[in-house]
């Protein structure tokens, strides 16, 4: 459905926002771009939805080239942007009809569909209220409805739950799942929430500094870590890396400050073996924790650090602040 090959965007001839990114999205799946702010997620989406032209490489949506056949692409995709783009001075219904006009959907069809969509996102009651009066969650749902007005084959969602509270976030996930299940829609989304990528996406690509670091299904990625992670601390001040490494099932040992971070298959069975091996050599384990890998570990493993929170650029930072401020409701 979506193909990107060496997709690259350079701003002002020096800032490489997206760096030779290659991936493909299959029909009917939810594909997630996971990465910190400023990793190049929004820039990638903007190239796929024909808002920005790639500096290098190419991409296609449903076989239409995003540069040469941009207008064809625009007709078959839906976009739910990161910001709240609905016009505050218009009502929810007017906003959807404005989108319909931009797509050139025949009026009678558009009217019927607008009402259907308002029903889908549970905004029927508020359709004639000005968007100004909407809460963050309602605005997000309105954006979703606008993005669906042309019955897109592919829906692009840029940080669909940014700034939403836990409840609204869960509700948004539900809508997204329904789109996939009931309408067989293909969804491409970006997020910097690990749990969102984990629960929602069929496949994810971790992107950082404009490059895809690794991609696969969430469980593939977790498995690629080679099992569970055991963290132990010992009483003595000595390096016991080699002892641990000798234990069965242990794949990797790394000393991080005072603790040892051990990757091992079958963590529950291996942990006692490690304690036993250390005790035989006269060391005492003071703390032990066992975690099954989450995307957080995957992320840490591939990028070498926790998901960082830096500002993308001054402009998007401001936009984000506006979004957040609105999301919190005035």
């Amino acid at each position: 459905m979506i193909k990107a090959e060496n997709l690259t965007k350079v701003f002002n001839r020096s800032l490489v926002a997206v760096d030779h990114v290659t991936f493909s999205v299959r029909e009917g799946e939810i594909f997630g771009f996971l990465g910190p702010n400023g990793a190049g997620k929004t820039t990638t989406i903007n190239m796929l939805i024909t808002v920005l032209k790639p500096t290098e490489g190419n991409a296609s949506v449903l076989g239409f080239d995003v540069v040469k056949q941009a207008n064809e692409v625009r007709k078959v995709i839906g976009v739910v942007p990161q910001e709240y783009t609905a016009d505050e001075d218009l009502t929810g219904y007017e906003n959807i009809m404005l989108c319909a006009d931009l797509y050139g959907i025949p009026r009678d069809i558009a009217k019927k569909r607008a009402l259907e969509l308002l029903d889908l996102v549970e905004l029927t009651e508020f359709k004639d209220k000005r968007v100004e009066t909407y809460s963050g969650g309602m605005r997000r749902r309105l954006e979703l409805a606008c993005g669906l007005i042309n019955r897109p084959k592919v829906l692009f969602l840029d940080e669909p739950t940014l700034g939403l509270d836990v409840q609204t976030r869960a509700a948004t996930w539900e809508y997204i799942r329904r789109l996939k299940k009931e309408y067989g829609m293909t969804l491409f989304m970006t997020t910097h929430y690990l749990e969102e990528a984990d629960t929602l996406c069929d496949r994810i690509a971790i992107i950082d500094h404009g490059k895809i670091i690794v991609s696969g299904t969430p469980s593939e990625l977790k498995d690629s870590l080679g099992g569970d992670i055991i963290t132990i601390t010992i009483k003595e001040n000595a390096d016991v890396t080699d002892i641990i490494r000798g234990v069965e099932n242990v794949k990797e040992v790394r000393k991080e400050n005072e603790a040892y971070r051990i990757k091992a298959a079958k963590g529950e069975a291996t942990a006692p073996l490690i304690i036993e091996a250390l005790r035989r050599k006269g060391f005492t384990v003071t703390r032990l924790s066992l975690t099954e890998p989450t995307l957080n570990e995957v992320y840490l493993e591939y990028t070498g650090r926790a998901i960082r929170d830096t500002e993308e650029s001054k402009e998007s930072f401001i936009a984000q602040r506006i979004t957040l401020r609105r999301a919190r409701g005035r």
């Binding site: 808002v51 207008n71 007709k75 218009l90 404005l98 006009d101 931009l102 050139g104």
Partner: protein, 321 residues
């Protein structure tokens, strides 16, 4: 909604996109009563204060001459023809009276020769129309900065609507607003005593709108192209305040061009505001002069065509980054 939906029924058209986007702007504007009131108040205040305070025709009226104290003039009889013995006494009172009458006549004639009309208020009121058209078109174009910052612009770009419709909608919005304000000013001016010329007929107003439209299109398209690149409101604001004053004063908006120094006349001659003001004056308060109107409209037409082309090319380039 189902998966086996019919082939894509999107038929994006320029006209529909343009109308939808323009309507959005106008709705935004009309739905804000405070803004509307301000829109009417602003010209009212300007008109009331500036128009009525600069009472130039009062300057040339007998009243401003004040009480001139002319002594009686005595002329010896020997100057008369034929000479006689004695003196002729012309009473000062009579002289003063005569002088004041003449002064008033001269004043009217000076007004007529300088401004083309005998009352400055009518002259100035039309200038005010030009001024408001200029500022309104520029300020209206600025809303594109917000559209960009709030992400609305990107969303619109991601739909198949014609890029030209996006730009033209902004231009039309700016121009419509200017026309609306111009109407308010002309109506107010009429109530406050604007005097139409004898050749004025209501259809002339169509010509007035046409002239405003041309200037509005030209000015707003360049301004939109400029604003679309700004991420902050301050820059276009600064730009507006930088150029409005010179454009306003180096033109015939408030004062006739031929009394200005040469260098200023040179600016006024290329200043589109001069042509707009001249066109409106000739259509309302001055006697009809077809030849002069043709010059005005040709210039305004060229101005609109050239600047709109530049503006649209620049804006287009931004929209297809």
């Amino acid at each position: 909604m189902n998966k086996a939906s019919a082939p894509n029924e999107c038929r994006p058209s320029f006209a529909r996109g343009l109308w939808a986007l323009t309507r959005r702007e106008l709705k935004k504007w009309l739905s804000d009563p405070v803004m509307l009131v301000m829109f009417v108040l602003q010209p009212l205040i300007w008109m009331g204060l500036l128009g009525k305070s600069m009472n130039i025709q009062g300057l040339f009226s007998s009243g401003s001459l004040g009480n001139i104290d002319i002594p009686n003039i005595q002329i010896p009889g020997s100057f008369a023809n034929p000479p006689f013995n004695g003196i002729i006494v012309i009473p000062g009172k009579l002289l003063a009276q005569q002088l004041q009458q003449e002064f008033s006549k001269i004043g009217t004639s000076v007004m007529q020769n300088t401004f083309g009309v005998t009352d400055y208020f009518s002259f100035m009121a039309v200038g005010m129309v030009s001024m408001i058209v200029m500022t309104t078109t520029m300020f209206s174009g600025m809303s594109i900065v917000w559209d960009r910052r709030l992400g609305f612009l990107d969303k619109v770009i991601s739909t198949p609507v014609s890029r030209a419709a996006i730009i033209f909608a902004k231009i039309l919005n700016a121009t419509f607003r200017a026309m609306f304000q111009a109407t308010v000013i002309l109506a107010l001016a009429y109530l406050l005593g604007l005097q139409f010329s004898s050749t004025f007929t209501p259809p002339n107003l169509l010509g007035v709108y046409a002239a405003i439209f041309l200037l509005g299109v030209g000015l707003s398209s360049v301004f939109i192209a400029f604003s679309i690149r700004s991420t902050r409101m301050e820059r276009p604001m600064q730009f507006v305040s930088l150029i409005t004053m010179p454009l306003m004063f180096a033109s015939n908006t408030f004062f006739p061009v031929n009394l200005m120094p040469d260098w200023m006349q040179a600016i006024a001659k290329v200043n589109p505001l001069t042509y707009l003001t001249d066109a409106i004056r000739r259509l309302t308060i001055l006697p009809m002069d077809t030849a002069a109107l043709i010059v005005d409209f040709t210039y305004l037409g060229l101005f609109a065509a050239v600047l709109a082309t530049i503006g649209i090319v620049l804006a287009w380039r931004y929209l297809t980054r």
